[in-house]
């Protein structure tokens, strides 16, 4: 990656020698990977819906894989966006929904019960990862109590003095006119 980045540099512009620590936290990288995983899984569910139905013993015409596939893709997009916290929590909610549906498919009459059990076991594992990632994606932690900025006027001589010093500046050329001069011009 560093090599590719350096290839795009102009000859005399600085090039990367070695790369240091990043603003990305480990959880940010995991959620990004989960985002791509969601999109791939969603696309697979949509593309192979009849096979998914057959694997879990659902009705062949069930549209559940397509609906859940679209949901997975939306979750993936959220995970890859700046709103990745929402994305991570949406994955947790999606996991809960998936588990509920699969529990329903654990019926003794379902000939594919073993497949459902296997899928449930994997889902629980993925849900645990999702939960851990979502919980760790908090905003940057405050290192000090809320600060008081009431004394930060920016005017060393005080606000009232600043108010009394104003002049009018022309937006055309930046030249300065006092309010009185401007009024005289308008007259």
């Amino acid at each position: 990656m560093t090599y590719l980045a350096n290839m795009t540099r102009r000859e005399s512009d600085p090039k990367i020698i070695s790369t240091g620590r990043s603003s990305l936290r480990p959880a940010d990288r995991v959620v990004r990977n989960l985002g791509w995983f969601s999109i791939a899984l969603g696309a697979t569910e949509i593309a192979f819906a009849p096979r998914v139905n057959a694997t879990f013993g659902l009705r062949r015409s069930s549209s559940l894989p397509v609906i859940f596939g679209l949901r997975e893709i939306m979750q993936g997009v959220l995970c890859l966006s700046v709103e990745k916290r929402v994305g991570a929590w949406s994955r947790v909610a999606g996991d809960a929904l998936d588990i509920a549906v699969l529990l329903n498919a654990l019926d003794r009459r379902n000939p594919k019960r073993e497949n459902v059990k296997l899928a449930l076991a994997s889902l629980v594992a993925v849900a645990a990862v999702d939960l851990a990632v979502a919980a760790s994606l908090r905003p940057a932690r405050a290192t000090r109590p809320p600060q008081n900025y009431q004394n930060r006027s920016g005017f060393p001589q005080g606000l009232e003095t600043a108010r009394s010093q104003h002049v009018q500046i022309s937006s055309q050329d930046g030249s300065a006119l006092s309010i009185e001069e401007r009024r005289a011009q308008q007259v």
Binding site: A5, R21, A162, S171, I179
Partner: protein, 391 residues
């Protein structure tokens, strides 16, 4: 040298890179003594501004000491000079520079042909920004090459501290130009959306330029507190209706002058449903900017009023009510800041003690803490308003 380098969305790294070299006789190299993270750096951090490439050095607010000069500077700069570097690179000679329209300098964008295709015409080269504006390495680094250095600098006296003068590079003239563009009258009410660093500078500029009443809008308590300290009446949009409150404060007439110091990333909240709509579209690349503030301004601005937009927008904005703009006779003024048009005056004001822009600094840390500080600044945590970095 060490530098903060963009590697992708939300991925800024503290890298070791090769030192910059003189490339042209009008170049100078400075040892950066102070630099800062700007609100528009966050748009790059989030990858909302197109044409960033991995390996780009961040930063367009920096200052330092000249350590090397090209042969073509004709005595304008010499080793040891202390300069602030404006974020816009200017030649000082083209038609636009001669008119003082420095941010649309016709010569300094080294990717001129791409800019002409995308923007219609070229604009000035900018430090540490997209390749549409030249892709120049930025100043969040130990050293910075300053192209066209004979024109692109603000010499500062030794008596003033880095903290006092650094913001001449961007946020102070940006806030100043935003207010000047409003063509203030002594009876005017100015409403300013966004109490980030540019909003804070716009508030102080409005005071110095004689606004009768200044109203500042945000949702971060510490920022609203800072705005009040600067002389503004504040509105917290999370707890009250901006439109109702503005009308109440202006006798139902609306503010004559409105400033959008927010730009492309309006705060997303369920109390402003259009922000959810924009965010969803932005996520799937159907829109590049969240323009809630602009819509609100157009709605609430007094007929025949002026809207000034210093906030950065990246590309395509959806659902802008042009019918209101037209029927209310509103004037919209915007643009990157013509930094050098304002800095002589502003430097004098700082020197005279009329304004001290260092009030906005809430965090001063070493450059090595840059990657973490991007997150702190983005999350507005730790009462963060402005981050100063010391290489």
């Amino acid at each position: 040298m060490k530098a903060l380098v963009w590697h992708g969305k939300e991925d800024i790294r503290y890298d070791t890179v090769t030192d910059p070299e003189i490339q042209d006789e009008r170049d100078a190299i400075i040892r950066v003594t102070s630099c800062a993270i700007c609100g528009s750096d966050l748009h790059l951090f989030h990858n909302f501004i197109p044409a960033m490439l991995p390996g780009d050095i961040m930063g367009h607010e920096s200052m330092g000491e000249v350590v090397e000069t090209g042969r073509g500077l004709n005595g304008t700069l010499k080793k040891g000079d202390r300069i602030v570097v404006p974020f816009t690179i200017i030649c000082g000679e083209c038609e636009q520079c001669r008119r003082g329209n420095y941010s649309v300098c016709q010569r300094t964008n080294r990717n001129k042909s791409i800019a002409e295709k995308v923007f219609g015409h070229t604009t000035a080269g900018l430090f540490g920004y997209t390749h549409l504006t030249g892709g120049y390495p930025g100043g969040q680094a130990e050293y910075l090459r300053v192209p066209f250095a004979d024109a692109t600098h603000i010499k500062v006296p030794d008596g003033l501290s880095d903290e006092q003068v650094l913001f001449l590079s961007d946020i102070l003239p940006t806030g100043w130009q935003a207010v000047v563009q409003c063509d203030l009258e002594p009876t005017d009410t100015v409403a300013i959306w966004g109490c980030g660093p540019v909003g804070q500078m716009a508030i102080r500029s409005a005071v110095l330029l004689g606004a009768r009443h200044i109203i500042a809008i945000d949702c971060v308590p510490e920022r609203l507190e800072m705005a009040e300290a600067g002389g503004a009446t504040t509105i917290n949009f999370m707890t009250e209706s901006v439109v109702e409150r503005l009308n109440e404060l202006t006798g139902g007439l609306g503010p004559e002058k409105c400033i959008d110091a927010v730009g492309t990333e309006s705060h997303v909240t369920f109390s402003q449903p259009d922000t959810i709509y924009d965010r969803a579209k932005q996520m799937v690349a159907l829109e590049s900017d969240r323009a809630h503030v602009l819509r609100e301004i157009i709605y609430v601005c007094r007929p025949a009023g002026i809207i000034s937009i210093p906030g950065v927008y990246g590309g395509l904005v959806d659902k802008i009510p042009m019918g209101l703009v037209m029927n209310k006779g509103l004037t919209i003024k915007t643009g990157q800041t013509h930094v050098n048009r304002w800095t002589d005056d502003l430097l004098e004001r700082i020197d005279r003690g009329e304004i001290d822009p260092s009030f906005v600094i809430t965090h001063s840390v070493g450059l090595e803490q840059g990657p973490e500080m991007y997150r702190v600044f983005r999350d507005k945590s730790d009462s963060c308003v402005k981050v100063l970095l010391k290489p």
